[in-house]
């Protein structure tokens, strides 16, 4: 279902400042950007990329599209995603950040109904070092290698990639799930995809501590993933944003009650330890944990 290395890419919001900047960069990196969409700008070219007014107008001209990357402003991003789904595109990367969460709820329902993979919002996209760039990842930190990286954070991902690069391990691929409270595809789906990916020998997860969201991920890895996995969570010392947890967490926050145990960083780390998944204390520890896991 996940297309890790899509070779025909569309960019929606290609005339947005971020969209046009990265369209050129993606193309220069080797990504096959077949077209862009920007209402009212149809017929123009950007760095040789043809621009269309509507996704369904682009497809008959550019042919098959594996993935669309959305740079459209937050309040209109969902419209762009629905437009892509209606045109039959089944993998969407939402680079846009700050999309109202109830918009995401609507989109995710639609995505489930149609079997569409959503990455993001606020995703930096996917990078296959020296091959494909889909989104806004900074390529400087990456080098081709064996570690598949899946991250829920932004620039912290580069810190981890940089460690892997310096340690000579390199990365087979890096998938940025997005920083927002509600995102489409999560760790389990991409873990499964990377578990089946031949160039990936080990998988590193970069997540956030607490909130009660990743405990199920630990169980999933123990049950379904064969390749070695190393996890790193930032924020065990930072205050948890309890307005972003599950219903119980949120309600108890609003009642000024103590935090339910299910949401703590400690409980999350314990869940990973119980599933026998090494958890790094700091980014620089990740390469040695990966090397150790690869030796087994």
């Amino acid at each position: 279902m996940m297309n890790l290395r899509p070779d025909r890419v569309l960019i929606q919001g290609i005339t947005e400042p971020l969209g046009s900047y990265y369209a050129v960069r993606m193309k220069a990196y080797g990504t096959n950007v077949v077209g862009g969409v920007s209402p009212g700008q149809g017929g123009q070219l950007l760095d040789g990329i043809p621009i269309f007014d509507l996704v369904e107008q682009a497809l008959p001209v550019v042919g098959r599209v594996d993935t669309t990357i959305i740079f459209v402003q937050p309040y209109w991003a969902i419209d762009a995603a629905l437009e892509a789904i209606a045109a039959g595109i089944r993998q969407i990367i939402l680079v846009t950040a700050g999309i109202p969460p109830l918009d995401m709820v609507c989109l995710l329902r639609k995505a489930e109904d149609t079997g569409t993979v959503i990455l993001g919002p606020s995703s930096s996209g996917i990078i296959v070092p020296e091959k494909i760039l889909l989104g806004i990842q900074e390529s400087e930190f990456y080098t081709p290698g064996v570690v598949g990286l899946i991250s829920r954070s932004g620039t912290l991902t580069y810190e981890v990639a940089w460690e892997l690069t310096q340690a000579g391990l390199g990365e087979s691929i890096c998938v940025s799930l997005g920083r927002d409270a509600i995102v489409g595809s999560g760790f389990p789906q991409w873990l499964k995809a990377l578990d089946e990916d031949e160039s990936t020998k080990a998988i590193v997860l970069v997540g956030q501590a607490g909130g009660g969201r990743e405990e199920a991920t630990a169980e999933y890895i123990a049950a379904a993933i064969d390749k070695p996995v190393v996890a790193y969570f930032a924020g065990s010392h930072a205050p948890l944003d309890r307005r972003m947890g599950d219903a119980n967490n949120i309600i108890s926050y609003h009642m000024s009650m103590p935090i339910p145990e299910s949401g703590t960083a400690q409980r999350q780390i314990t869940a990973f330890k119980q599933a026998k998944i090494p958890v790094a204390k700091r980014p620089s520890q990740i390469p040695e944990l990966v090397k150790k896991a690869l030796k087994k």
Binding site: P100, G154, I251, R282, S284
Partner: protein
């Protein structure tokens, strides 16, 4: 952003959720002009929970009692928060009290309806009997009725209480809420229902398309501005003034923020974090990077004081980092007790160049001040540990070469350097 009870009730009233006659009180003397019939209830308008238990809700039988009660409440902080406004409300004799809420469950990624047949101020009891219904598909009133049965309601109450939940859900979707709560919903001996207290939390990312709520938010922010660090501006949306959107039924285009109001909700954007005991300030380009840096400093047993995020993972020239960084440097350097500023920025070579330029200009200015004013009268500067990574940054290094900073490549070394400087005595001369 959390609304106050009286603001929430205003929205309830417009939505057709029954609320009692009430009046806003800005000062104890306003009690004399009270239009309500006694006895009345006076309620502290604070965001913190547990107001009833803390004495922020009082009954009064007459004007003299009411003025005294109002004075007491105005002077009573609830979890450190003093009310600026009280709400005077008619007294209601509830036979029973329920708890009702609609929240966005971020783990389930769906709205959830919550209800407890034990409403009121005993939060443990509320929680103990709490029932949930996940709205996994398009909302329809049967979700609300499903909750009613789980709560054990019977007869006419099923329809009357689920009608309230339906309206709460409509409000939730129309205004992009994170939470709408009624606690308690009073039920009279004749099975009449009344929202006796209400709470609404608005989603910050959506404020830009709810003009009235955003303006309300900015008013509250002005009032609550703290002297500590404020967040780097992060506009709720740059989208204002563009095409209308079509997805929320009944959404009014005029609700979009006007260009001049864009910053309205922005000050509320969470910073970042402040610890008064600390002596290390952190500047990072990304929240996750900042909290990872914070973790490392804590692991090294040092005392971080604050962090500022500049350009949340935002790359490139489209969203210039310079003005944010300039302000962050100024804010952090001037915060009390800061001995070391740790700048940790990972990005492209282009951005590193921009960052180096800002830091260099800032520090050169400070060094010059010192020469002009003399060492004694110029403000003492903290130490600077700067870590810039990303592409070829040799020109950035050159730009920073002759400045009084510690330039470090490796994160662990940057942490060690920062910790050692923070533990050494005194500021840089």
């Amino acid at each position: 952003m959390d609304l106050l009870e009286y603001q929430a009730k205003e929205l309830f009233r417009k939505m057709g959720i029954p609320v009692l006659p009430s009046q806003r009180i800005d000062h104890p003397r306003d009690i004399k002009g009270l239009q309500l019939r006694y006895p009345v209830v006076l309620k502290s308008q604070v965001r913190a929970g547990g107001r009833g238990r803390a004495g922020g809700v009082r009954f009064a039988e007459n004007t003299i009692d009411a003025i005294a009660a109002a004075r007491t409440i105005f002077n009573l902080p609830i979890l450190g928060e003093y009310p600026h406004v009280l709400l005077a409300e008619a007294k209601y004799d509830a036979d029973r009290e329920f708890y009702l809420a609609v929240v966005l469950d971020y783990a389930a990624q769906r709205p959830v309806l919550l209800g407890s047949p034990q409403g009121g101020i005993n939060v443990e009891a509320v929680m103990q009997h709490m029932q949930q219904v996940v709205v996994d598909q398009e909302f329809s009133p049967f979700y609300a009725r499903r909750l009613m049965l789980k709560m054990g309601l019977q007869g006419t109450l099923i329809e009357s209480v689920s009608a309230i939940v339906e309206k709460m859900y409509q409000l939730f979707v129309q205004k992009d809420l994170d939470l709408v709560e009624i606690n308690p919903l009073g039920v009279s001996s004749t099975n009449e229902v009344m929202a006796l207290d209400g709470k609404i939390a608005v989603n910050d990312d959506a404020l830009g398309r709810h003009r009235n709520l955003a303006l309300l938010a900015s008013k509250m922010a002005d009032r609550n501005t703290s002297p500590s660090l404020s967040s780097a501006p992060f506009l709720p949306s740059e989208a204002a003034g563009r095409r209308g959107r079509v997805f929320i039924p009944g959404e009014d285009k005029e609700e979009l923020l006007l260009a001049g109001e864009k910053g309205a909700g922005a000050q509320l954007r969470g910073l970042n974090w402040v610890n008064r005991e600390g002596n290390i300030g952190i500047i990072c380009n990304g929240t996750s990077l900042a909290i990872a840096t914070l973790d490392l400093l804590y692991q090294a047993e040092s005392k971080p004081a604050s962090y500022v995020v500049v350009g949340e993972d935002a790359p490139t020239s489209c969203d210039p980092i310079s003005p944010l960084l300039e302000r962050a440097l100024e804010q952090i350097t001037q915060s009390k007790g800061i001995k070391v500023v740790l700048v940790n920025i990972l990005s492209s070579a282009t951005l590193s160049g921009e960052v180096a330029e800002v830091i260099a200009t800032y520090l050169q200015g400070k060094v010059k001040d010192k020469q002009v004013l003399g060492a004694a009268s110029a403000a003492a500067l903290p130490h600077f540990v700067v870590r810039l990574i990303g592409g070829d940054i040799s020109s950035s290094r050159e730009r920073l070469a002759d400045l009084p900073i510690h330039l470090v490549d490796n994160l662990d070394l940057a942490i060690a350097q920062t910790v050692s400087l923070a533990k050494s005595s005194g500021k840089r001369s």
